[in-house]
């Protein structure tokens, strides 16, 4: 399973990348600022509804999370040890899970170039925007690379468990990732990439639904606070 754009013809896919990013930030801010059980329940329901509307099967992000599960489940373990109770830990884990699910939905439903265009539109410096989208784009390669390294080390007797020393996996992964990023940097610069504004072949265009969603955003903000 790969974390990358999934081509579908759903209403969520059709929403302009800029509007999606605004809503993503809105939901994350809500999660951070309104730390209540009710808000968590509402946002979880909204996230599940958006996945249903996008046609992306819900098991997909759960499978793709991989090492992300460590971050998500850690609060439960920590709360169980420190506070002798798991309920606050479950809430914190749900908070992290929602952030992951919302972010993954953006990646699944938005072409990477449109994310870049949206970031440049929001005046994010093009080097940072580029670094961000390239890191998203390289997630599947890193996943593939980890699998390849894991298999080749397993052939030499290395058994990958949470308790095995990670160096046989991490060192080749770092080496190949650094080599790939250095080659990519050479290729980008050699094709004229500079920090000035990029002249995109196809510009983002907002539709009626996008304008409607933008108008609704302040209304949602008022209702929430």
């Amino acid at each position: 399973m790969m974390i990358s754009y999934i081509h579908q013809n759903s209403p969520v896919h059709k929403i302009d990348a800029r509007v999606k990013i605004l809503y993503l930030l809105f939901l994350i801010f809500l999660l951070i600022l309104k730390q209540s059980l009710e808000m968590l329940a509402v946002i979880t329901a909204v996230v599940f509804f958006l996945y249903k509307a996008s046609g992306i099967p819900l098991y997909k992000p759960f499978k793709d999370l991989g090492m992300g599960w460590f971050v998500i489940l850690l609060p439960i373990v920590l709360h169980a040890i420190i506070n002798s109770g798991i309920f606050p830990g479950v809430l914190t884990s749900l908070f992290f899970l929602n952030i992951f699910l919302i972010s993954l939905l953006l990646v699944y439903t938005t072409e990477i170039k449109n994310i870049l265009q949206a970031l440049v539109f929001f005046k994010v410096p093009s080097e940072i925007a580029f670094a961000f989208i390239i890191s998203i784009h390289f997630i599947p390669f890193i996943q593939q690379e980890v699998e390849r390294i894991r298999i080749s080390q397993a052939l030499r007797g290395y058994i990958s468990t949470p308790f095995s020393p990670p160096f046989p996996l991490i060192i080749p992964l770092l080496h190949s990732s650094l080599k790939r990023s250095s080659q990519l940097a050479i290729s980008l610069e050699s094709r004229g990439f500079d920090s000035e504004k990029i002249n995109f072949e196809v510009e983002l265009q907002m539709g009626l639904v996008d304008y409607l969603l933008l108008l609704l955003l302040p209304v949602f903000l008022l209702i929430s606070f």
Partner: protein, 249 residues
């Protein structure tokens, strides 16, 4: 004849290892130059000095001078030189980063701020030229290694630079595709483009290059016409193969 690339007394080393030593080389406009040499002889490094990647992006001990159309690469941004010199790296997987084939070709053109109509025209033209037009909206990761190599070449050629540098372009192509590529490079060369290619296949160089240099331990060991250089028994000592056609002679 106009010297498009002039390398003067160039030495380069990094992490204490000498990679290039006292290289003096002139590449006139319209040249089809082949660079050959054993593994680790500095072929790819020499190529990267020609478009300013060394010393601007890859740092090290750089001595001497590389002039591209009179401009010193030490004082010119790689992105500025990209209008004159295009490079195709050996591994296409390291350079392809777009989600769609068309975006990969458009990338360099958008950076050069070409009008949208011109960008579209060149995308169509260069994808058709490499038989990739039917994949225009596909994810490049779904292409075969050979098709990815063609895409990497198409995205560089679409910039229509004066000089085209290629690092082992036939390494992931089958024989037919490699011949097709070299035929195309020859036609570009006949139109006045300067081609510099690092190649391990001496048969190909004999057929297509007009000049060959052999690098050994970072120095130019031999320089001359392909027939003369590739029939020199010394190249076998360097671990290179004398083309079959010249052996029979």
């Amino acid at each position: 004849m106009v010297k498009l690339i002039r390398i003067q007394n160039l030495s380069f080393s990094y992490t204490g290892r000498k990679v290039l030593e006292k290289i003096n080389l002139s590449v006139p406009k319209g040249e089809f130059l082949g660079i050959i040499g054993p593994v680790g002889s500095g072929k790819s490094t020499l190529l990267l000095t020609m478009n300013g990647v060394i010393p601007n992006l890859l740092k090290g001990n750089f001595h001497g001078k590389v002039l591209v159309d009179g401009e010193d690469t030490r004082n010119t941004k790689v992105s500025e030189l990209s209008g004159k010199i295009g490079i195709v790296l050996q591994d296409p997987n390291s350079q392809i980063f777009s989600m769609r084939v068309r975006d990969e070709v458009a990338f360099a053109l958008e950076n050069r701020k070409l009008p949208k109509e011109e960008v579209r025209r060149r995308i169509e033209k260069y994808l058709a030229l490499f038989g990739l037009h039917s994949f225009i909206n596909e994810d490049p990761n779904n292409l075969s290694e050979g098709q990815k190599q063609k895409l990497a070449i198409a995205s560089t050629l679409a910039m229509e630079p004066e000089v085209i540098l290629l690092d082992e372009p036939s390494s992931s192509l089958d024989f037919g595709a490699a011949v097709e590529l070299y035929e195309f490079l020859t036609s570009l060369n006949k139109q006045g483009k300067t081609i510099v290619v690092v190649e391990h296949d001496t048969e190909i160089l004999l057929e297509y290059a007009r000049r060959v240099i052999v690098l050994k331990d970072g120095r130019i060991a031999l320089d001359g016409a392909p027939k003369e250089i590739l029939s020199n028994p010394k190249i076998e000592k360097y671990g290179l193969k004398i083309p079959c056609r010249l052996k029979r002679m």
